[in-house]
């Protein structure tokens, strides 16, 4: 264990991950007298010190608006803000930073696409394709669009194991399919979907493709060029960054053609009372004062992830995942919901005759934070015939001890009830 710590070295050793964990102040606390065991990172991750410091330093040192002043502070803020755009582009291997639009999160990003190019491309009798495993954020905007345009929302079904059934894509994607919007990783059961296959089929038919990468972005490297999608969305708060900030990446040619979404300051070139001309992409889509501190925090979160490295993240999280599935399978009265072929960082389960909400309260008494509910995926819950599940989800700071605590907490729930 006498390794010299080096910033960019991938660090599979546990002593190094200990150091990583220590960077998260929120994790260093007790809940009801027990050490906090945070297993709800799919809802939002904890934030490392460097992210908190970046946000604070913006307010302490550079606080001003962006793109609006010739004074020094505004210049600094603008430089910091725009530097993150370039960093995001690099992070997702986008060829052009101008394809990166800052939003308030994944939800806003999907709505933006539905309300702009979605509205332009989808007309009466057309189809929008999503899957049975989407988060409500990737259902409702499309449902609203279809309703408005008289189009049909078509659903890729899934198996009992929680894998999408992609054998019939040929019949699901037709000439009338104008948009295909698919989750990258399921927030409810953890499936890593074969999105490449869906994108390839969709492109062949000329449909617009959108990927909801909210649950993928902090767990695996993403290359938008390689994926071949048109749009990709994610939220900073699920990747160690601040809440209220997210990204829509779009193919520049498409963004250029798209009409703006919200009108206001920053998104215009000139305004008269007769008409306005719009700013270039991406600013055209960033009306009003953005969440500058959030974006700067996102930049620090990207640095954090790159510092730890995806190799380390993936091997560590995979180890936690396998251990969790093995340990949970040994427990009587527990059923894991979904056995996807490829799983990332999420395990959902139910306990015989015990409602997830009761389990959640009892586990919280032991400091174990899990999510109990429908995970904003009500159609998927009905597909599995459950109203709710208990969901445990991991991030780089979780440890094997956390899994011991999880198992102990589940056993004590069963003890109360049986």
């Amino acid at each position: 264990m006498n390794r010299t710590p080096q910033a960019n070295e991938s660090c599979p050793s546990f002593s190094n991950l200990d150091q990583v964990r220590r960077r998260f102040p929120c994790l260093q606390q007790e809940i009801h007298g027990n050490p906090l065991v945070y297993l709800d990172s799919a809802a939002t991750t904890q934030k490392p010190t460097q992210v908190l410091q970046a946000v604070e330093s913006f307010y302490q040192e550079d606080c001003s608006n962006v793109h609006r002043g010739v004074h020094t502070l505004s210049e600094r803020a603008t430089i910091r803000y725009e530097a993150v755009r370039a960093k995001v582009a690099q992070f997702i291997h986008a060829p052009d930073p101008h394809g990166v639009i800052f939003t308030s999160g994944t939800t806003e990003a999907i709505n933006l696409v539905a309300r702009t190019i979605g509205r332009d491309r989808v007309s009466s009798g057309d189809q929008v394709l999503i899957s049975a495993m989407e988060h409500h954020a990737n259902i409702v905007p499309w449902q609203m669009l279809c309703e408005e345009q008289g189009a049909k929302l078509v659903i890729i079904p899934c198996t009992d194991d929680g894998d999408l059934i992609l054998d019939d894509l040929q019949s699901l994607i037709t000439d009338r399919t104008k948009v295909v919007s698919i989750g990258h990783v399921s927030n409810a059961v953890g499936t890593l979907h074969d999105i490449q296959k869906v994108i390839a089929f969709a492109r062949e038919k000329g449909a617009i493709t959108m990927i909801d990468s909210a649950q993928a972005i902090s767990h695996l490297p993403i290359d938008v060029e390689q994926l071949g999608c048109d749009f990709l969305a994610f939220s900073a708060h699920k990747m160690y960054g601040p809440t209220g900030t997210g990204v829509l990446w779009g193919r520049k040619e498409l963004l250029d053609q798209m009409s703006p979404w919200q009108g206001g300051g920053d998104m215009i070139r000139t305004v008269t009372f007769e008409n306005s001309t719009f700013a270039d992409v991406p600013w055209k889509f960033e009306a009003g004062t953005p969440h500058i501190a959030g974006v700067i925090g996102l930049g620090a979160a990207l640095d954090f992830i790159q510092e730890v490295g995806f190799e380390t993240i993936q091997s560590h999280e995979q180890q936690l995942l396998e251990e969790t599935v093995t340990r949970l399978d040994r427990l009587d009265g527990l059923t894991i919901i979904g056995r996807p072929k490829n799983r990332i960082s999420v395990v959902s389960f139910v306990l015989d005759r015990i409602h997830p909400h009761d389990a959640g309260t009892i586990m919280d008494q032991q400091g174990v934070a899990i999510r109990a509910g429908h995970h904003c995926a009500m159609p998927l819950m009905s597909r599995f015939g459950v109203a709710a599940t208990i969901r445990t989800s991991f991030a780089i700071y979780n440890t094997l001890d956390d899994i011991d605590a999880l198992v102990a907490a589940i056993e004590s729930v069963q003890e109360v009830f049986n």
Partner: protein, 150 residues
């Protein structure tokens, strides 16, 4: 683990496992549905109210967590034969016990319902304990709309 037993008292566990007055009743003249979006609890209350405003029969259907199921089950036993006015008064005291401001009343005068006094320590669960009550009041008001705890 002592604390948690105050919330999940034996009577609550018992009623959640085998709820009383559970299932559709042929004889009722008022019904209402309730839903708690946070945990997905669903409850439907059916009441037979006499002309002079007495709850003659009361039963419920639905699915939910232990707290919401036990709450519905226990209230059906406690409220049978009470006047509508009494029902509203008891609900007011119940609410005061599980979620009221100031010092916690120990549930005096609430009889069996006092087993829910522990809910006070778990603000996230107050809605579970009160869902059946809100739904019942809705039914008694004769408004046939779904109530939500939101």
């Amino acid at each position: 683990m002592n604390d948690i037993r105050e919330l999940y008292q034996e009577m609550i566990l018992d009623h959640s496992r085998s709820p009383r007055n559970f299932g559709p009743k042929s004889k009722h003249n008022l019904s209402a549905k309730g839903h708690n979006p946070l945990c997905g609890d669903d409850v439907e209350m059916h009441v037979l109210r006499t002309a002079d405003g007495v709850v003659e029969e009361i039963c419920f259907e639905g699915s939910g967590c232990a707290i919401s199921t036990a709450s519905a089950s226990i209230l059906t036993g406690v409220l049978k034969g009470r006047s509508e006015e009494e029902v509203r008064e008891i609900f007011a005291s119940f609410r005061q016990m599980v979620a009221g401001q100031g010092d916690a009343p120990a549930g005096e005068g609430l009889g069996k319902l006092a087993v829910f006094s522990g809910v006070r320590q778990y603000p996230a669960r107050v809605k579970c304990a009160t869902l059946a009550w809100h739904t019942l009041i809705q039914a008694l008001s004769g408004v046939e709309e779904e109530v939500s705890t939101e």
